[in-house]
Symmetry: C2
Subunit: 408 residues, 2 copies
């Protein structure tokens, strides 16, 4: 193939380490002799509007590379754009390939989740259809950790580290008062509870961790919930609960749908969730007559780059770097995946799988890792997740605040 | 006076650095030869129940001292307990002084805010009334920065650093999408907007900072608010707003009272606020038809010890240490205060004032530091606040998470 021009985009919800994957693509492509590494502004949507940058304009030296690794959210901007089926709407594809031709692109990288792998799959298939030799490679990214085929996903480790650290602090805060209280922490996760499980990582020598968790993988039942809380109250004053935003009752309705806040849908038809913790706090306050507080991590769990997992940052870089090697070897329509060799010592290797095997599929927390009606995890989860939050990467502090790299 | 036994308590809402003041009292008292340093569990309320610890049982060496500095929330536990007037209810005072006599206490320290200084004032006056020679000294503490007499309060700098750092991350996250949005961040502050002002510290070379702020110091007006937002929208797509939880409309009602969530009152008659950002996000979403999101920092802004200001930690320690020196010199009924000598270079000295001058008084943000109907700060605020967030203190990380010292 040779080292031609590269274009890279970022799509879907941002993470704290998505730019480390971007750096992995950029640095590896430049080191391999690729003349230009372009960045799509706002993913495919921006590419269709012919908005891109030459990455070298912004990443000029090794210090910029380190700064970009420490910059949260998608440096290039993101989008939620679903490609049509090319047999029904070829115009969009013609437009994309015209832009790629204009920039003389040989390799296309898309850093994203299962929706983004749908994009990689479709573009690679269209390329085959029109006999284009441009390669399309997906770099996995999501805090949700719900991508199929891969052991875990870059972005999850740092989100998990933030969640576990913040849980420790919240639990310490709540326990300082002599009074009974229930503290419900709402964590992202529409259909998979990986992030909520991460709250249990706060359990350690100096912290009891959350008393119970509730995930989308199991049915939420109010009676069981109250029973579990009362059981915990018989032992202690301060109860802490971690719930996924996407928990549902047996009738298939989101718990937060009981809340008055309306729900909108995004381009992929996903409902925008929120309000689960506040609703449950109101409910428990009324039901049990105890001070109940809802705490929502909101966007901070995906952009708190001031406390990232060094292992996650490093693996995110590797995913980008190995994606470039894969493309240079002539592969297309693939996503980089992680295979875990062992937990102790933690050992990992990268390989790849067809993007189609990841597109539009969601990997859930295994039910055999859950106990007590899904209200806690087994040791399997701890062995799986603990290695992912190890190590720190200090932010570059300027005037007391973390510094970021940005496009102005 | 000589170096007799010491007892120290923590009261009111916790902070990330309140334990640094505790360490300042402990270490200075021990170094001065005080035989025992006792800690009240849950402040005065615990003391009345004869619950205390000998601090030496938990803080055994210099490593423990460093670990306690890095531990958020009140190590000894806290309370919200208002002492009665001793001319009306002397029993409570008799009980307290009986406990102090039992422990042979010479010096009493209370780390807290204006309610706690009410306690110091009352206890010192009762001591004079019964001719007790026990000294009572207040150590200032509050993230709210609303204590009178002192330039600023330990706890504010770290909360401000957390808020400004998180704002930078939230703004970067919000700007990654190509669509219009309004992001309203709710920050603690019932009657004073110091913490909300801290959101503006995120304005720097790599961040525009919030577009507008709204404080309890000014009247909240919906029409002005919409007008300001529309003005900002004419320049940019993503609007970020920082609001205090305690903003009120001209009729004296909290904005969050318009929300359905009911409000309870604490022992001091303070209403429990919350819901301002979510309510305003709903309102703006309906009014302007733009995606609007409410983000609430909640308790994390007072317990996120994983990102503290080193200057704040150091000053909190000094406040405790100098409180001990003040007590050993025979003073009583006083609170330690900070006097700022200069901004550039930043220079500070401690002195003291009567606790009565601080008790039940709230220091607000000066109106002359606000511009555009209170929607932004002048440079005076930046010069005041920037020095307070400088410097970091790395957490002690164990298995990827910050380690804390605790009483089991």
């Amino acid at each position: 193939m040779g080292a031609g021009n590269v274009i890279v985009g970022q799509s879907g919800g941002p993470t704290s380490v998505i730019n480390s994957s971007l750096v992995g693509v950029f640095k590896t492509a430049r080191d391999a002799g690729c003349p230009h590494v372009y960045g799509m502004r706002n993913g495919i949507e921006g590419l269709l509007q012919e908005r891109w940058v030459d990455m070298s304009m912004y990443v000029r030296n090794d210090l910029d590379i380190e700064l970009l690794k420490r910059t949260p959210s998608s440096f290039l901007g993101t989008c939620r754009f679903k490609l049509p089926d090319y047999t029904k709407d070829e115009d969009t594809y013609k437009k994309i390939f015209a832009v790629l031709k204009k920039l003389d692109i040989k390799h296309f990288f898309y850093i994203g989740g299962n929706d983004s792998m749908d994009t990689i799959d479709k573009l690679s298939k269209y390329a085959a259809f029109i006999n284009s030799d441009i390669t399309f490679i997906g770099i996995p990214k999501t805090i949700d950790n719900d991508l199929a085929m891969t052991d875990h996903t870059p972005g999850y480790g740092s989100a998990a580290k933030y969640i576990a650290s913040a849980m420790k602090e919240i639990i310490r805060d709540a326990n300082t008062y002599p009074t009974e209280s229930i503290n419900i922490v709402e964590i992202m996760g529409r259909d998979a509870g990986w992030l909520t499980c991460a709250a249990t990582l706060s359990r350690s020598e100096d912290c009891a961790g959350p008393d119970l968790i509730s995930l989308p993988e199991t049915v939420f039942d109010y009676d069981t919930f109250i029973k579990q809380i009362n059981e915990a109250r018989s032992r202690k004053k301060v109860i802490t609960i971690a719930v996924s935003e996407g928990i549902k009752t047996a009738d298939g309705k989101y718990v937060c749908e009981a809340n008055k806040r309306s729900m909108s849908e995004d381009a992929f038809g996903h409902k925008t969730l929120g309000g689960t913790a506040l609703y449950l706090a109101d409910f428990l306050g009324a039901e049990l007559g105890i001070k109940s507080r809802g705490i929502v991590f909101s966007t901070l769990q995906r952009c708190a780059s001031h406390i990232v997992s060094r292992r996650d940052i490093t693996e995110a870089f590797t995913a980008g770097a190995d994606g470039v090697q894969l493309a240079l070897s002539g592969e297309t329509g693939k996503m980089i995946i992680f295979d875990r060799i062992s937990n102790n010592p933690y050992q990992l290797k990268t390989s790849s799988c067809p993007a189609s095997a990841v597109a539009n599929v969601e990997k859930k927390v295994p039910l055999e890792w859950l106990v007590n009606n899904g209200s806690y995890v087994t040791n399997d989860f701890f062995e799986y997740a603990r290695p992912l939050i190890i190590g720190e990467l200090s932010p570059f502090m300027v005037d007391g605040l973390p510094r970021h790299l940005f496009i102005d």
